[in-house]
Symmetry: C2
Subunit: 385 residues, 2 copies
């Protein structure tokens, strides 16, 4: 028998059995009463996760589609935007803004570090003519396993009129994000991360101020037109035929999230992060992100010197059916990334660390069996002490 697969990606993440079963329900009319009620329950649950009183729009597509919406609905061609980038998903925002005709200025920080709020404050202060119309920020940079300090970055923009637009695709539900309290204008997220459902849905939340900008925005948009999505949401519908199975699954997963409670969910993700970091470090491997900015959703790891990251990943997959992600862009084949968000528990981390220990030994990098596992166990016991 093949080993059970242990899916440790920063998305797609494992889907609970009861949520998988929800996917298999017969089709229904997406413009009928049953779907309307599903959509209403999902939208209410999403509001709790987004910490907002605004409508959360449910869109069919990948998180990158919602990122496009966060550009094409709020930035008109020729307008200047500032993209804060600490990795490949920050770069993606810049690329989308360029494709949609914005004058893109990048505020870049080394991959593996977080954005410096003081640098952002400097740039904003220098914009005396208020030419910057929007600031784009990644909450959790999936490519490096670094989390930006959103409240500090928001404070750095202060009362400058630029919209503050946040990619929360891999953060929302895994770590605190308070759309309204933090005064965020646009927040986008995806379904296949901490929401514990398959890919296929994206979400967007828009402040009243941002809706005013959208009403005047001249950029080309049709499928990702958020104004149209809002208009249809008011009728309990979506503009286009939605991914019905994922909406049905979302209702189930939001019930699970409510039952754990957001504080419990965040604490669990922090514990998973600590178990991963301690376990990996005990095996002598280095981490890309410093502790102070380390993500609760994904951890990027350098393999031991002389061992290629992708060779290690392949051995983990072939021998133990453990799936971890590779590096992106400049870190391709230099790092591997362990996703620990969504439907993941401590014993999953222990299993991954144990598989890593054996794989390293198979690859000729001797490590003491059990030493990484022990470090992870100590995190659990310290928490229970």
């Amino acid at each position: 028998m093949k080993e059970k697969q242990l899916l440790m990606l920063p998305g797609p993440t494992p889907v609970p059995q009861e949520v998988l079963q929800a996917l298999a329900r017969p089709m229904i009319n997406h413009r009928g009463p049953e779907f309307k009620s599903l959509l209403a329950e999902a939208a209410e649950g999403l509001k709790e996760v987004f910490c907002t009183r605004q409508e959360v729009l449910i869109l069919t597509g990948a998180g990158s589609g919602a990122m496009e919406a966060a550009v094409s609905n709020f930035v008109s061609p020729g307008e200047r935007v500032l993209v804060v980038s600490i990795g490949s998903f920050g770069d993606r925002f810049a690329q989308i803004a360029q494709r949609f005709g914005a004058q893109v200025e990048r505020l870049e920080f080394a991959w593996g570090t977080a954005a410096d709020p003081a640098a952002l404050a400097d740039r904003i202060r220098a914009d005396v003519n208020k030419e910057i119309r929007a600031v784009f920020v990644t909450h959790n940079e999936t490519s490096t396993g670094v989390t930006n300090d959103i409240p500090a970055l928001r404070a750095a923009v202060g009362d400058h009129p630029a919209l503050f637009i946040v990619d929360a695709v891999s953060s929302l539900g895994a770590m605190p994000l308070e759309t309204d309290n933090w005064n965020l204008d646009v927040v986008v997220a995806g379904s296949q991360k901490s929401f514990m459902i398959p890919p296929g849905l994206a979400f967007a939340c828009v402040s009243p101020r941002a809706w005013d900008v959208a009403a005047k925005c001249t950029n080309a948009r049709f499928y990702w037109d958020l104004g149209k999505a809002r208009e249809m949401a008011a009728k309990g519908q979506t503009p286009f035929t939605p991914a019905i199975p994922q909406v049905t699954a979302l209702v189930e997963s939001l019930r699970m999230i409510r039952s754990e409670g957001l504080p419990g969910t965040f604490a669990r993700h922090l514990k998973l992060r600590e178990m991963t970091r301690h376990g990996v470090r005990a095996l002598g491997m280095e981490l890309l992100a410093a502790d102070a900015v380390a993500s609760a959703a994904v951890t990027a790891v350098f393999p031991p010197a002389g061992l290629e990251a992708n060779a290690l990943r392949k051995m983990l997959l072939d021998r133990f059916n453990v799936v971890v992600a590779g590096g992106q862009g400049k870190f391709d084949n230099k790092i591997f990334r362990i996703g620990h968000l969504g439907y993941v528990q401590g014993l999953d981390i222990i299993a991954v660390i144990a598989a890593l220990e054996m794989t390293l030994n198979i690859c000729g990098h001797k490590v003491e069996l059990g030493s990484g596992v022990r470090a992870a166990q100590e995190v659990v016991l310290a928490e229970n002490a």
Copy 2:
């Protein structure tokens, strides 16, 4: 016990039990070997249905997203396009082209009729300066239940250099469409119609000539960038995280389609159309589309005088859990539409006709019980004679 639901929409359509179960499989890595092999099998099966040797791209989103792609990848701002419209989905192509900056000219025909190839030929002949860069046509107009004669319309464009772009969202797999033999440049389709899987995927097929146009196209596109999708498809991947459950389901449904065979599938849809039309007419109701242009996928029906279409639909739903679609645009509440595509068989049509008979009587419009059913049965027996 509630009546079993009979879903008779022109999408979403019923999903076979074995395909539903495929949706419920655990998540896998969308950049790993297992998904790559699923994607390859799906892409091969799609080629058979599209009747093409070109790549068929698998996109995550609704069919309308693929319609946007059919505009934004091939039409640059300021270019003139001709949109042939016979209903609300033709109008949608015009609306998208306008949003993306094209100079849109409409060639409209009355709702309920098909496009006249001679009128298209006249317009094309008049374009002596070859200003028209693309002709957009709906194959099967879902809003009216009318099918356009694509080969005749293609012939009307002749050797004019305009791209010939076809919305086959509700036609593909339900009626013949031969992408290569008919010399179509772009064909787009959706998952929740005759493919018998839930909504969430869209498909696009592009001719070599159209790829050349796309390479020079200046329109804004990111999520729906088909060039990027093609580049990633060559690696067995998608640009963004795909709706994995729908891809898994598609592989199953394509096996079912292959096992029935396309000629068998088309014959079944024609039989369903004839059963519907004869059954409904026997109850004294009129049909929107003339026989010569009637769709094999959906039939639009006028309720008896004095009975509102939506009241009839509500009674069908409340009493018998039969779901039919309403009218769109100018036919809102004037017609109802019976979808008969995808996983639908003759006895489903009989059940709908029987429910209609009872519903009409409940609503005070006396019809002879069994008279519509008999007319539908006679279609079946004539076929078997």
